[in-house]
C-alpha cells in the first residue's frame, strides 16, 4: 500500500507500524512516531496498523535553540 512518510509517498508491503519502520530502514534508532498527527508511543508500534494514505511522521533529535 502507499503511505506518506515524512511528506513523501512510499510503497510499503507491511501494515504494522513496527514492521513499516523496519521495512523503511529505521533499525532501532532513537525516534518518535506519529500517524495522522497523533503520537504513537514506542510500546504501541507493534499493535498499530496503518491504512492506505496514512501520514507517518518519524522524528529524531536535532539541534535546536
Amino acid at each position: 500500500m502507499r503511505i506518506n512518510l515524512n511528506g513523501e509517498a512510499v510503497e510499503v508491503e507491511t501494515t504494522r507500524l513496527s514492521d513499516i519502520l523496519e521495512e523503511c530502514g529505521y533499525h532501532g534508532e532513537r525516534i518518535a512516531t506519529a500517524v495522522n498527527g497523533e503520537i504513537v508511543h514506542r510500546q504501541s508500534r507493534a499493535e498499530t496498523r496503518l491504512d492506505e494514505g496514512d501520514r507517518l511522521e518519524v522524528l529524531a533529535p536535532v539541534v535546536g535553540g
Binding site: A34, I39, G65
Partner: protein, 262 residues
C-alpha cells in the same frame, strides 16, 4: 563564584545560569567546544524528520550525552496548540525528560509567541506531567495566567529570536521581575552581546537562554566564554545591590580639604 549564579528550575539546582542553544554552529566539534567553554548545564534541542538509515539523530544525541549536560527540548516552529502538544509528547519520548521549552509561535516575521495558544498548551502539558518552560513576552497578565496553569518558570523574550537586539523593553522586564519576585525568570531570545546578558542578570533575572549570539559569532567558543563570565558578573552585581541612577553629578573625591590654589 558559581554559587552567585545558582538557579533552580522545578527543583533542579544548577550552578550555571546560562542555557545554551545547539543550533547554527559551524560544526558539531565547535558546538561541543562552545558548550564546554560556556560551562552550561542545560542545552536546548529539537526534533525533526529523520531520513531512514541516516542515523543523524542518534549521532547528535550521542554528542550531547557525552557532554554530560541536561537537555531542554523545544517545540520550535509550532504554530498551533495541537502541534506543540504533540511535539512535546514526542520530545518526551525521545529525550526522556519531562522538561519542555514551549513555543507556540503566532507571527512568522517576528516569531512572537501566540500568547493565547501558549497558555492553553501550557495548561494541557502541565496536566500531562510536563515541566513547562514557556517562551513568552514580558506581559504581566500573560505571566499570571501561565503561572495559574502550572508553569513554575517564565521565559520572556528580550527581543525577537536571532535578532541580537538585546533587551527591547527594559521597563517591562523590570516590571515582570518586580511583580513575580519568587518565580525563576529567564530572558530567552534576542540576546546579541554579553553586555545584554549581564544587563538582564543585573535586573535580577535568574538565567539567560541564548543560541545565535554564540553560534554565529566569529569565534563561538570564545564568545561562549564571554557570555559565561558576563552572566556570572551580572548576577554578582545584582546580589551586590547596585546604586540608583541620578540626574545630578556627585563628586566621588572628597570636597573637604581641597586646597585653595587660585
Amino acid at each position: 563564584m558559581p554559587d552567585s549564579s545558582a538557579v533552580n528550575f522545578y527543583g533542579v539546582a544548577l550552578d550555571s545560569a546560562l542555557l545554551l542553544g545547539t543550533a547554527r554552529y559551524p560544526s558539531p566539534a565547535v558546538l561541543a567546544d562552545a558548550i564546554r567553554a560556556s560551562r552550561t548545564e542545560v542545552v536546548t534541542v529539537s526534533l525533526r524528520r529523520e531520513s531512514a538509515g541516516g542515523g543523524s539523530g542518534q549521532k547528535f544525541w550521542d554528542l550531547i550525552q557525552d557532554l554530560g549536560v541536561r537537555v531542554l527540548p523545544n517545540t520550535a516552529s509550532c504554530y498551533s496548540v495541537k502541534d506543540a502538544v504533540t511535539t512535546a509528547h514526542m520530545a518526551r519520548e525521545v529525550f526522556e525528560t519531562d522538561w519542555i521549552k514551549l513555543e507556540v509561535i503566532g507571527h512568522s516575521d517576528t516569531l512572537q509567541p501566540d500568547i493565547f495558544g501558549l497558555v492553553e498548551a501550557a495548561r494541557i502539558l502541565t496536566k500531562d506531567g510536563f515541566k513547562v518552560f514557556p517562551y513568552c513576552t514580558e506581559d504581566l497578565v500573560l505571566a499570571d495566567k501561565l503561572l495559574q496553569v502550572g508553569c513554575e518558570v517564565l521565559m520572556p523574550w528580550g527581543a525577537p529570536i536571532g535578532s541580537g537586539r538585546g533587551l527591547n523593553n527594559v521597563y517591562g522586564l523590570k516590571s515582570l521581575r518586580a511583580h513575580f519576585p519568587d518565580v525563576p525568570l529567564v530572558v530567552d531570545a534576542g540576546i546579541g552581546l554579553p553586555s545584554h546578558a549581564a544587563q538582564a542578570m543585573e535586573l535580577g533575572y535568574n538565567a539567560i537562554l541564548l543560541n545565535t549570539a554564540v553560534a554565529r559569532a566569529g569565534d563561538p567558543v570564545a564568545m561562549a566564554g564571554a557570555f559565561r563570565d558576563a552572566i556570572i558578573a551580572g548576577r554578582a552585581a545584582f546580589l551586590a545591590d547596585p546604586i540608583e541612577m541620578s540626574d545630578l553629578a556627585t563628586p566621588s573625591t572628597p570636597v573637604i580639604g581641597k586646597a585653595f590654589l587660585t
